[in-house]
């Protein structure tokens, strides 16, 4: 209910790294001066491959309410195949933002008056030298471009910290390529 809290919902599949992506953004947001950062994964019975979501709340002030997000300001979708299974825009606020990893151009997607940003993160990650299917670093680039919430350089640093010892530079590159190749569509 607090107006100062930005609510971001991450949709992915179990094992896809949505939690890690949200955690990276949480770290970068905290470094950027957001004192209130709360990231809450799906509670309970996550199974590999099944749709999962993660809540990320960001505020300049400490956040006390840990309940899951029901009216997000933006949703991040790591895998466009989820669109057939999950109502990703459920509760999305008016003029909300959908950030989507999808191969088709942004013009192909319409979410009922919402802003939409599309990047082919799966492709960009491979371009960056990552094995196919690693999308959680790349989607952060798309998020940075579309949301403008956190500076891409701070995010890339957070990615390198998180993936320390696990191809940090390739993950960082994936985020930068996705950042450069994100199309935003704002409905009239």
């Amino acid at each position: 209910m607090r107006k100062d809290i930005i609510e971001i919902r991450w949709h992915g599949r179990g094992g896809q790294g949505a939690i890690t992506a949200a955690k990276i953004v949480a770290n970068a947001a905290f470094v950027s001066g957001y004192k209130g950062v709360v990231m809450a994964p799906t509670f309970g019975t996550e199974r590999r491959g099944a749709p999962v979501f993660t809540s990320l709340k960001i505020s300049r002030e400490k956040i006390y309410d840990l309940s899951p997000i029901t009216t997000p300001d933006m949703v991040i979708v790591l895998d466009h195949s989820l669109l057939d299974e999950v109502n990703v825009t459920a509760g999305l606020k008016e003029n909300g933002l959908v950030v989507l990893n999808a191969p088709k151009p942004v013009s192909e997607y319409t979410f009922d008056g919402m802003r939409v940003a599309v990047s082919d993160v799966t492709k960009h990650a491979v371009e960056a030298g990552l094995p196919p299917g690693i999308v959680n670093s790349g989607i952060i680039g798309a998020f940075a471009k579309a949301s403008g919430l956190v500076d891409i350089d701070v995010l890339v640093q957070a990615i390198e910290d998180e993936f320390s010892g696990k191809k940090p530079e390739k993950n960082a590159k994936a985020a930068r390529i996705a950042y450069e190749n994100t199309e935003l569509k704002v409905p009239k």
């Binding site: 949480a26 990231m39 994964p41 309970g44 956040i63 006390y64 840990l66």
Partner: protein, 397 residues
């Protein structure tokens, strides 16, 4: 240094900083990431401790009991049915006066199976004699773990550090990790005067008679009832001791000041919401909304539930119109346990408020801010007309 990590990792980091020497644990959701992290600390050498992957929670506490009796700092963690599986051991650890620290990621109890949060597990153990401290966020978790070790060894009573499963255990938020050197100066090494020692043999937890009995040295030794009376007196004295330890912690780390209850906008309030755990933080947003509508209301989190801080609670509620007690647990067939405790504490006090009881969130049922707002509004609007029985929030069928 601040890091963003889960509540379980906050707890594990506290255990590492406290230099636990023997850790035994059995995995159970939602405690598992805590034990995974501790085993990683031990395997990597970041924590020099013995990690025993036991075959049950009963055995986890057995290892802690024995290791503590032998003179080492022992730790375990559990949730829900795991806690209940070690119930016999909980009582044993207290009677043996062992300074064990245990984290409990609060979870509902089966049947039916639930992995989600409520507080029935630890509340059901309120009479075991363990000290129970509840944390409301990750900073409080890591700080409470460190304080708990010092408290436990000061009063020779085991301490549970409880935090809401998933809501805190699996949620990530920033918290400050204290410096090791400061923790070392705050928390002296465990150096018991009596321990299992071939050079000075003693028999621990011997069968004790109903009556007193002369000992080897001619002195009269207590019977069971004197030993248990001493435990109870020590637990009552623990309230003051924990306040002192919290002050010492605040001096070293700059955090603390609310060891028994944590009040928010209570001083000038007519109404006070009372609860245990992270719900008291969620309620702050509701309090702010109601304050904007000129309802003089505050919220109080009960941080130490056993020993029961009756004086602190009565002081906080003196002269208020109404205390509204929210509970994620129930003394089945009666009322909320906290509600009953507060009601009993208020019995002999002057200017006692009305008191209401709400049960909510059992088995992880989502607690919506609007529901809290509605409940508080109902209580504040008609404080005198409530029945002496809990109302349930969020029932759908």
């Amino acid at each position: 240094m601040h890091i963003i990590e889960s509540g379980n990792v906050a707890a594990a980091t506290g255990v590492k900083l406290a230099r636990a020497q023997v850790i035994a644990a059995y995995p159970i959701t939602p405690q598992t990431p805590l034990t995974e992290k501790l085993s990683e600390f031990v395997e990597s050498g970041a924590l020099k401790a013995e990690y025993i992957p036991v075959e049950s929670e009963h055995s986890a506490m057995a290892v802690c009991i024995a290791a503590s009796t032998a003179g080492t700092r022992a730790f375990t963690a559990t949730s829900a049915n795991g806690l209940l599986y070690m119930v016999e051991q909980l009582h044993w650890a207290v009677g043996a006066r062992l300074p064990i620290v245990m984290c409990v990621a609060n979870r509902g109890i089966g049947a039916p199976w639930t992995v989600w949060n409520d507080q029935q597990d630890t509340i059901s153990q309120r009479d075991a004699g363990w000290i129970q401290i509840y944390a409301n966020d990750h900073q409080q978790i890591i700080d409470a773990v460190i304080k708990a070790f010092r408290l436990a060894q000061t009063v020779s009573i085991p301490v549970m550090v409880c935090y809401d499963g998933y809501l805190l255990s699996h949620t990530y938020m920033p918290f400050d990790v204290p410096e090791q050197s400061k923790v070392d100066s705050f928390l002296p090494a465990f150096a018991p005067t009596h321990f299992l020692d071939p050079e000075n043999p003693g028999n621990f937890n011997t069968v004790t008679l109903p009556d007193i009995r002369p000992g080897v040295d001619g002195e009269m030794a207590p019977g069971y009832i004197e030993i248990r009376h001493n435990l109870h007196q020590d637990l009552r004295a623990t309230l003051d001791t924990f306040v002192e330890i919290d002050k010492a912690f605040e001096k070293e780390f700059g955090r603390g000041g609310n060891p028994l209850v944590e009040k928010y906008r209570c001083d000038d309030a007519d109404f006070v919401a009372v609860c245990i755990g992270s719900l008291s933080y969620q309620l702050r947003d509701v309090i702010d909304i109601m304050r904007e509508n000129d309802v003089k209301i505050g919220v109080m989190g009960v941080q130490m539930y056993r020993p029961f801080p009756d004086k602190a609670i009565v002081d906080a509620l003196r002269g208020k119109k109404c205390a509204i007690v929210f509970e994620k647990a129930l003394s089945y067939g009666n009322q909320g346990a906290l509600y009953a405790d507060i009601k009993a504490a208020l019995y002999t006090s002057e200017k006692k408020p009305r008191i209401h009881n709400y049960i909510l969130g059992l088995g992880g049922r989502e607690i919506k801010t609007q529901q809290l707002l509605d409940a508080l509004t109902a209580s504040c609007t008609s404080p005198d007309t409530f029945e002496d029985t809990p109302r349930w929030i969020g029932l759908k069928l």
